[in-house]
Symmetry: C2
Subunit: 350 residues, 2 copies
């Protein structure tokens, strides 16, 4: 017997590597290739530094009010956290408490089973079909909750809102979480449904479309009752999860909508160019509504291409996992980065 016998032992999620080379092309963690809104820089310089001695706003209203106004909901419908990972972790802890199996796709964000394990939540994965599409019927059995990303990661595939609604409607006794980390890049959001279904929680992040992965801000929008339960659990874990920089800089990123839309347009334009070029080079992929392309090559193995690109300091994401171990998840970079990638692939495959 020793203290080690009483330790919770887990296999943690492994985030994408964060290499640091001067000339690298980093297309492995779906970050935004453009900097955050100029207001963020301005606020960094103007932030009342001496106020850092005080606890930040516990209810984070600076941020929830701004998000509520932007998304046309009430502040009582908004929950914020340290990236959408923190939001989803809290939501697992809060809503998946029945002891029944929760459901999510077999090919999806690989953090879902990790959260389930750390909180002791049983789960059952539901296989996507051969085109990486969800099958609505799979989500109509007894369950303790449902979560899926839309568009899905790492496939980039978007399900129509009709399927999302069908699943929510079929599960009034479960909370259904729709993880919309990538929706800004052309997907259709389930947000219009939050006033219709009180069991729907929509989750978003600043890390992709708002170019603030380094700030760690995510949020959820849902029925005020859901948000109240979520806040109760959050306040039982940490009174102040959002630090002052997150609150103040996070607000700036929402206020500048013109910059936001311009960034999205640029990323989408580059993505479409990348699709054309990848196709030309013999890749195929499900149509992507996200800021990445999930591609497989007709001749060369994904692992081989991954290692080749790595040797040229071009970093993409390769998952050695069932069903997807011959795919690469390639983030959309700047035009220049996309060109370096395509040129390198041309050299190998052309």
């Amino acid at each position: 017997m020793s203290w080690e016998d009483n330790v919770r032992k887990v296999v943690p999620y492994t985030p994408g590597e964060q290499p640091k080379f001067d000339k690298m092309v980093k297309l492995n963690t779906n970050e935004c290739p453009y900097p955050p809104a100029p207001g963020v820089q301005k606020m960094l310089k103007e932030m009342p530094y001496q106020d850092l001695r005080l606890y930040p706003q516990a209810d984070a209203r600076i941020l929830t009010d701004t998000l509520a106004e932007y998304y046309k909901v009430s502040p009582e419908q908004v929950f914020v956290g340290v990236g959408s990972d923190d939001v989803i972790a809290m939501a697992f802890l809060t809503f998946f408490h029945s002891g029944k199996k929760i459901l999510f796709p077999d090919v999806t964000y690989s953090f879902y089973p990790v959260w389930a394990d750390v909180y002791g939540i049983p789960y059952e994965t539901q296989p996507l079909d051969e085109n990486f599409r969800m099958v609505a019927a799979d989500y109509k059995k007894e369950n303790g909750g449902i979560i899926f990303p839309n568009p899905n990661a790492p496939t980039g595939v978007e399900e129509p809102l009709s399927l999302v609604e069908e699943i929510i409607q079929a599960n009034p006794d479960s909370v259904v979480m729709v993880d919309e980390a990538y929706v800004d890049f052309g997907g259709e959001s389930a947000l219009p449904l939050v006033d219709k279904y009180e069991n729907l929680l929509v989750i978003r992040t600043y890390s992709k479309s708002r170019a603030l992965a380094g700030l760690r801000v995510g949020f959820a929008i849902g029925n005020p009752k859901l948000i109240k339960y979520l806040n109760d659990v959050k306040f039982s874990v940490n009174s102040y999860t959002m630090n002052m920089p997150s609150l103040l800089l996070g607000r700036e990123a929402v206020l500048d909508d013109a910059y936001f839309k311009d960034t999205l347009a640029k990323v989408i334009k580059t993505r479409e160019w990348m699709k054309t070029e990848l196709k030309r080079l013999g890749f195929s992929f499900p149509d992507s509504k996200s800021n990445f392309v999930f591609a497989t090559h007709k001749d060369k193995s994904a692992e081989e291409i991954f290692l080749y690109l790595r040797s040229k300091q071009i970093f993409v994401r390769y998952f050695k996992l069932p069903r997807i171990d011959n795919y690469l998840r390639i983030s959309v970079g700047t035009d220049e980065e996309a060109k370096i990638l395509i040129d390198a692939l041309e050299e190998l495959l052309g």
Copy 2:
């Protein structure tokens, strides 16, 4: 049956209020009355804003390396989190997993039972004696882990290192956490014991002595094995808890040791003056080694004094809890704030 039946329902911790008045004197949440180190301000202006688009360093080495060097331990002995609340919450989740009751004092940081509840950890409080002192024998029964602050909160009472060591030594099968949020203000740290006992975790915060409550940085130091287990659970909850501002500003606060020591000396000097004046006005209190005084008055009830001070926009902390409902926890402010407090009390009591 509804989705609400499956929700984890908790009674959350209530943090001290954060009033916003122009001329208030805020002595209710033990914040530092002085701003953080000047290097923090400089870094705010110099921070590479465009890098905020990238995920922050997942292993937080910028911060753990700096802390390791300062505290003369290895980086593998340091864990950082979003305030010590995040650190302790993770530690509860990681180390208090036996199903056996954990032990902590009856009068202590009121977040301990809240964390226990949210994670389903059974606990048994151990009564402090009539002088608010811990009784070592109480911590020598079977248990699933032990936590206590030293100096204790909200009493400010410090236990000698010999008692701390006695408890650690008696519990080789449990992790013993010593929450040293207030130790910098004159207490003796258990840090020298971390290389001797692998079941000891020492927890610290930036929110008090380093004047960075608004940044949310806390840390733990212990045996590398403990830290590894803690990181595994952390990486199962959120890959990146520390945002870029926390990492970069947090480092600056450690690098300027002269400023740190000067701040501590000022707070301690004001605390000693406050003690003399409070005594003169009929208060008594256990000797405080922290940045607050936990005082009771010979005639007037604590609640009455609390409400009187509140009406003058002087905020102190009052806990309506068994054994301590006739005490006020008064944070040490600047000399000017302390004088306003004492003058107001003089008016009521003198």
